[in-house]
């Protein structure tokens, strides 16, 4: 008891204490407020905008949140004692300006400062997503972000199957599926969302059953419909990412134009026999201004150069590779991780087992995203199919 008090006295001489109002002012000026309390304490409420790093992992994780050692830190616990110990440890780690919030969260709340009840993972989620939580780039904050994300899948077929399965497994909280087709036995060579027993069922219903069997906690919204210029605005509004797994040019151009209009990331994948293309068309990407699909291909091919879907054929595993790459790009966009395929086209040749990366430049004269582009009006191209340049 006496030793503890003696130590706290020492710490008060080494660490500057601030009251709650001063802490809030510092936070507004750019200081980072660090809540070091236990998860069950945080679950009941925590200062708005605080970084929440449990005391036991503080030194190991703080640099992921605050890489700048000269940043002002205000450490907070419940009553102001644990934060003194924690602040001293952060000083020893190398942070040059560390304060402790006197009176802790009780004082913060007592002064009527803004509090939020943060989303925390429950025990079942901690168990399910444990391998994500171990990845520093994902962690609890990233997993919560995935759980709060909404992704629209255009097509529940070859590309949509692996993409939707991995996104459901990853815990993307809301997956919407748009597909007007029913399961045919000839789909099962590659469309691994579906089963032999479900031949004849709507693909979106079959997909929902599979996705919920894998992860019952996510929300799966189904639209048994074909995307048209009339319904696309209502269907894509509010989504974070659209995964294009469609099989025809009319839908691809519609998806592109609507994504540009709504500022949504358009994860593109397309396949032909044993070759696939992947890119991310997202002119609204903040880090660099990227192209849209029309910058690369301004117009779809005329019908006489677009053979029927059934003629082309595809190696069944190919959409597995391309759709999985689409899922990777989707998760990166949702978490803000890594270097996305904005302005880059990845071409995969399964026969030569080769990836080629090509630059896709923005076309300043693009009719949809170019400098002089006027308000976007959708075009219904009708029933163009399969590949532009085909034999």
């Amino acid at each position: 008891m006496i030793a503890r008090q003696r130590r706290l006295e020492e710490l008060r001489r080494q660490v500057v204490e601030v009251d709650a109002v001063e802490a809030a002012r510092l936070q507004q000026d750019g200081a980072v407020l660090i809540d070091v309390r236990e998860p069950d304490e945080v679950a009941a409420g925590s200062p708005q905008g605080a970084e929440r790093i449990v005391r036991g992992f503080l030194e190991l994780r703080v640099e992921d949140s605050v890489p700048d050692l000269d940043k002002t830190l205000v450490v907070m616990c419940a009553g102001g004692a644990r934060s003194l110990f924690a602040a001293r440890d952060l000083q020893e780690l190398g942070y040059t300006d560390v304060r402790s919030l006197k009176g802790g969260f009780n004082a913060w709340k007592g002064d009527g400062l803004p509090v939020q009840v943060p989303r925390v993972l429950n025990d079942a989620e901690r168990e399910r997503y444990g391998r994500h939580l171990l990845v520093p780039e994902v962690g609890e904050a990233g997993q919560i972000r995935l759980l709060e994300s909404k992704v629209l899948m255009v097509g529940a077929g070859g590309l949509g199957s692996p993409a939707a399965l991995y996104l459901a497994a990853a815990g993307v909280g809301t997956l919407a599926l748009v597909d007007d087709d029913v399961v045919d036995r000839s789909n099962l060579q590659r469309q691994i969302l579906h089963t032999d027993q479900r031949v004849g069922d709507p693909k979106v219903d079959s997909a929902k059953a599979t996705l919920h069997a894998l992860n019952p906690a996510i929300q799966v919204i189904t639209h048994q419909a074909r995307l048209t210029s009339d319904n696309i605005d209502a269907l894509i509004a509010g989504y974070d990412v659209v995964v294009d797994g469609s099989d025809n040019f009319a839908t691809r151009y519609l998806v592109n134009d609507a994504c540009v209009k709504h500022g949504i990331a358009n994860v593109h994948g397309s396949i032909f026999r044993f070759e696939g293309q992947v890119s991310l068309f997202w002119p609204a990407y903040e880090a660099r201004r990227g192209p849209c699909y029309r910058c690369l291909f301004p117009q779809p091919p005329p019908p006489e150069l677009a053979p029927s879907c059934a003629e082309a054929g595809v190696l069944g595993i190919l959409p597995g590779v391309i759709g999985t790459l689409e899922a990777v790009e989707t998760v990166k966009v949702l978490l803000g991780l890594g270097d996305p395929l904005v302005g880059r086209l990845l071409v995969y040749d399964a026969l030569d087992q080769r990836f080629t990366e090509l630059k896709v430049e923005r076309n300043v004269e693009c009719s949809i995203c170019g400098d002089g582009a006027s308000e976007i009006e959708y075009v219904d191209y009708g029933a163009l199919c399969s590949s532009g340049v085909s034999a």
Partner: protein
Amino acid sequence: MSHATVRIPAPLRPLVGGVSEITAPGETVEDVLVRLGADHAGFLERVLGPGGELRAFVNIYIDDRNVRSIDGLRSKVSDGDTIHIVPAVAGGRR
């Protein structure tokens, strides 16, 4: 005369005997394509329109750069360059 390696995309392979790449001579991208067209019937009209222009749904790359950002079909080819033909591909769902 320079020689470039042309990567043939899957949709065009049946027109060139099924191979994934062909080496052909030429000073410009157009020379190389015309040479391939002379050797393989039906190839050229998939890439170039009736007026000899590059089709809007096909892109040609020299290494990783789109020739539309260089000098179009007149873009110069150097020995050892790889030319990629990248057509729009719709497939995916079915």
